[in-house]
Amino acid sequence: MKLEEYRGVWTLGEQRDGRIHTVSYELLAWGRSLADKLGVELATVILGHNLADQVQELIYRGADKVYVVDHPALAHFSVDPYARVLTALVREYRPEIFIASATTTGRTIMPVLAAKLRTGLTADCTGLDVDVESRQLLQTRPAIGGNVMATIITPNHRPAMATVRPKSRRPLPRDASRKGEIIFKRFDEKMFESRTRRLGFIRDETAESPVQDADVVVAGGKGLKDGRNFDMLFELAELLGGAVGASRMAVDMGWIPYSHQIGLSGKTVTPRLYLAIGISGAVQHLAGMSSSEVIVAINKDPDANIFKVSDFGIIGDLFEIVPLLIKRLREIKGKEGEGK
């Protein structure tokens, strides 16, 4: 394999039910910094059906090129046609880096693709950078159960492939003056065949927790001592216009459903405010929230890891502080209400 024959950064766009999903834009934010550093083009490849009127948006969000494969068989994710089409595109255009979001789709198609291409893949990266001289993609992720971070490279194979957590980066601002090229790729019908068949979809609104889209996340951990104490977190979240998150410990104890879990084995969030209550801050948890704009922690252990990533912290008893905070926020809200 001649590494120098591979140039450019690719992201895997995602659509759900025919609409481009926001993870596509988050990936472009990641990809843009890598492509600029390497001085190469950033391209998105997106597979789906009837996408033509939406793909321009990918240019506005940072792509230089968009490869679109439009076919009814691609309307919903299906391993066989997606893998065949993506393998063909990578072989034809030879990107040096190919990143996807760690959604169920990304986490399924990327290992299949990497095995077909016999190249390296690193899951769930929390950091991506390039070494300009060697052109190696530096992929950083929690390792060995999450207590340390590891930087991984793919020295001799291309493309270097990686997935990043949804919401681990904010999309770039939309810039409608950006110009780019949109290329519609056609393939032989055979490429779209699949051994599996989608028979249906059972929608479950409760499977989606609002925590990933919230501007404020109020999260609780072991320090809450009991599931009932999450009630005050819900109250606090409501006052702050946010949603409730939890550490793995709180979920494992059965205090709150898994859909609220923040961290390596849960969701990644980047809210404007992350309020960590009774959470010690294991590396796995930090992996899911450390990119939040402002982090505030309340914990009685002065040595808790969470304080090291906090912009503001109170070392104290959460059972004293949280009710007071709720009371103060209510007073403020009350005054605002009177003013209106």
């Binding site: 290992p111 930087t151 020295p155 249906g200 402002v294 109170i314």
Partner: protein, 264 residues
């Protein structure tokens, strides 16, 4: 029906101790267990065998050091019939692709199987990449995030996949590989007779030669990825940390801080 389950042995706790000087794992303090998420794969295979009135045979396959035989025995104690451990110095340092290759070779050797079960991911590596890669190398369909087996028979399977926003119902021909999620079942505890059976069952150890592995595809040599650095996460924020001895004062200061940052 011939079933296979892929399992891995992992450190018992996610609080693995790291030597702060060298950055290496303190293995002596480590206890190893079968990957907790693999228990769901084992359980589902055993349930399927029960559903088929015992007309099935379940083979457990693992890869790892000699001590990983315990993970295979744990699966046997839950109801699997036999097990193999793939263990060879030459396999050390395998990344997910090299591991998937070795496992796929073992499956070719021990198979054919109608259905292969794997967990969603391991609790140590947390990649979830090995299952889909094994299926790809065997050229069989992979069904990920499986939360239910709806139907099985006549060379086909219908499953539910737990994906964003709901459950997708998918049909696949057999053979296929399923990566199952926690939601699928409640793993049983081994019975005493299961434990006795596990103790008495011999678990053959397979080497790279036994599975006819291409040496350029296994171990470090066969791994496209390389770990180049291990480090403690850089802690970047130096925030204002106050004592809450005076809770009222602390909360007032927090309110002030949230105002400064434009959050309230």
């Amino acid at each position: 029906m011939r079933l296979a389950v892929l399992v891995k042995q992992v450190p018992a706790t996610d609080k693995v101790k790291i030597d702060p000087e060298t950055g290496t794992m303190l293995r002596t303090e480590m206890e190893a267990v079968i990957n907790p998420l693999d228990l769901y794969a084992v359980e589902e295979a055993v349930r399927l065998k029960e559903r088929l009135s015992g007309e099935a045979e379940i083979t457990v396959i693992s890869m790892g050091p000699a001590m990983a035989i315990e993970a295979v025995k744990d699966a046997i104690s839950m109801g699997c019939d036999r097990g193999y451990l793939l263990s060879d110095r030459r396999l050390a340092g395998s990344d997910t692709l090299a591991t998937a290759y070795a496992l796929s070779q073992a499956i070719r050797k021990l198979g054919p199987f109608d259905l292969i079960f794997a967990g969603e991911r391991t609790t140590d590596g947390e990649t979830g990449q090995v299952g889909p890669a094994v299926a790809t190398l065997l050229d069989i369909p992979v069904l990920t995030y499986v939360s239910k087996i709806e139907e099985i028979g006549d060379g086909r399977i219908v499953v539910h996949r737990a994906i964003e926003g709901g459950h997708e119902v998918v049909e696949s021909p057999l053979p296929a590989l399923l990566c199952v999620v926690k939601e699928i079942n409640e793993p049983r505890l081994p019975t005493l007779s299961g434990k006795i059976k596990a103790r008495e069952t011999e678990v053959p150890v397979l080497t790279a030669d036994d599975i006819e592995a291409d040496e350029s595809m296994i171990g470090l040599k066969g791994s496209p990825t390389r770990v180049v650095k291990i480090f403690y996460p850089k802690i970047t924020r130096e925030g204002e940390i106050i004592r809450g001895d005076d809770p009222e004062g602390a909360v007032d200061r927090l309110i002030e801080f949230l105002r400064e940052r434009g959050i309230i």
